[in-house]
Symmetry: C2
Subunit: 308 residues, 2 copies
């Protein structure tokens, strides 16, 4: 799957991923009203609204992008109905041949971690059938529990030719509380980065590993260091746009081959119609605004890489 | 909710929680066959089997215990259908007046963390309705992202009178890879423990905080240290039984008031009929075996506390 991701990034000339993190506040009134008219102001109504909203954005952008990253929290927020909308979104993106990065940030141990890995990336045995439950292509994983938490994911990735992105340095202001603390003179994120390199060495694709890393756009100097520590890890970069990261900040997240990083934008794309400069689209044409925002982001990032 | 948990622990004389972590391998053949006959060897069939299995255990043990801890990974493993079984289990335990600790180990930032908090502990606004999506009483939370990840949970806990258990020192063999690393001479788990004490100080129940901690049974000396660092945090203790922890190892997890810790057992209770000493029950009476195992665990732990 890492090979497919790299190929699609090259074909689209777009090292970007659209974060499908729908909030009801982002969704145009006409979509909400239709969904609520059909299913009531209920969890089912909310789930229908986010699914229809997603569908519009996917239809308008899928030919420009290699991948999407649905953030499962935004679906779990609406309970079982929200999880159904998550699964519908995954399936629809698969139909469009997009690579799906499930932003689930799971992390547990042993057989529990294996259950997450199977549920999201693998196949579960039920009687004589093997069934893929959620069937994302990649997921994000939390490293706090150590190798016991990561190994079961790596095992499933090898079996299914899928991948993970391990949280190394997150984009939020308080990420340093633990991640930046010095251990034998090195920040914790470097120690985790070394483990990512180690975990990834046993499951390599053609040029990059099945085990990638999450490194926030908001800490460019740290991105430069981590790029060197994990040369074979694809870096998933959140924090672009709404959280403050710019294309020019991100050049050091990429390798000399122009590859090695994929930058996420969520709000900046899916709620583009609410952003300055996109007012002309209006609510009805929210998906067209998203397409325009994808083109602008692609240009910003590709320019930065070319001018590196 | 922390007050309710403490009262139920005192009333039952049982500082224990039953981990509802069903695997298909644990489920007696007659339950699986009935479920598969009704719904096929499908995700729906598997979900029906785990729900019926859980129901048997809850019916047989609910009068002896204060709380249950469903591990959501074991449900997500069966996709959307599994999540439906998770919700059914939560609702049924609520009917039985059990305190429900959702073992979800979520952790993200800002509005994403808030979405998890709302989805699992709070209420979501849909049009003019406020709806509780999963409605657990407590959830487990991963601290790797720092205060930005915890604060949204604390906010919802205050609003809804609910609680969290933050992962501090987990029970698995590799938990030390990051958690034991020394920072200014102190292991990371102590630094996280100090933050738990700090986060908890702003939302106190009568004698314990809404913010508890997860500390594995397999590291009793560390449990002793963390007990002192977080005097007001309830400690959720995994790793008893199948993972090797014994009642006598756990005395230092409790405070002088005999409170302050709640010990989880999953496999040792729910798959008791497969354990040495419980063979006489057989598959058909699996739930009676679980009841017997609860009584034995209760005795082991209460003896340890009394003889402290």
């Amino acid at each position: 799957m890492i090979n497919k991701l790299v190929k699609k990034i090259e074909a689209n000339k777009a090292p970007i991923v659209v974060g499908l993190d729908p909030k009801l506040d982002f969704i145009p009134e006409h979509i909400k009203q239709k969904a609520f008219a059909e299913k009531g102001e209920t969890l089912a109504g909310a789930a229908e609204a986010i699914w229809q909203f997603n569908k519009g954005i996917i239809d308008a952008t899928h030919d420009l992008i290699p991948a999407v990253k649905p953030q499962i929290a935004m679906y779990e927020q609406f309970g079982v109905e929200g999880v159904i909308a998550f699964k519908k979104t995954v399936d629809y993106c698969k139909e469009k041949d997009l690579v799906i990065i499930g932003d689930i940030k799971r992390g547990d141990i042993g057989s529990t971690s294996e259950a997450y890995a199977i549920g999201h990336l693998g196949k579960v045995q039920v009687g004589s059938n093997r069934i893929a439950p959620f069937d994302e292509d990649f997921v994000t994983v939390n490293p706090y529990l150590g190798s016991d938490g990561i190994d079961p994911f790596v095992k499933v990735c090898k079996e299914e030719n899928k991948g993970i992105f391990v949280l190394v340095k997150t984009s939020n202001p308080s990420s340093g509380e633990f991640q930046d603390r010095l251990i034998d003179g090195k920040p914790l994120y470097e120690i985790v980065g070394q483990k990512v390199d180690e975990w990834g060495s046993e499951c390599m694709g053609d040029s990059y590993s099945y085990v990638g890393a999450v490194v926030g756009a908001t800490y460019p100097e740290i991105g430069k260091v981590l790029r060197e520590i994990m040369p074979k890890a694809y870096i998933l970069v959140p924090g672009y746009g709404a959280q403050g990261g710019k294309g020019s900040d991100l050049v050091h997240y990429f390798n000399k081959d122009g590859l090695g990083a994929i930058v996420n934008s969520s709000r900046g794309i899916i709620a583009a119609y609410k952003q300055p400069g996109y007012e002309k689209f209006g609510e009805e044409a929210y998906a067209d605004a998203s397409r325009q925002a994808v083109l602008a982001m692609k240009e910003d990032i590709m320019n930065a890489i070319v001018n590196k």
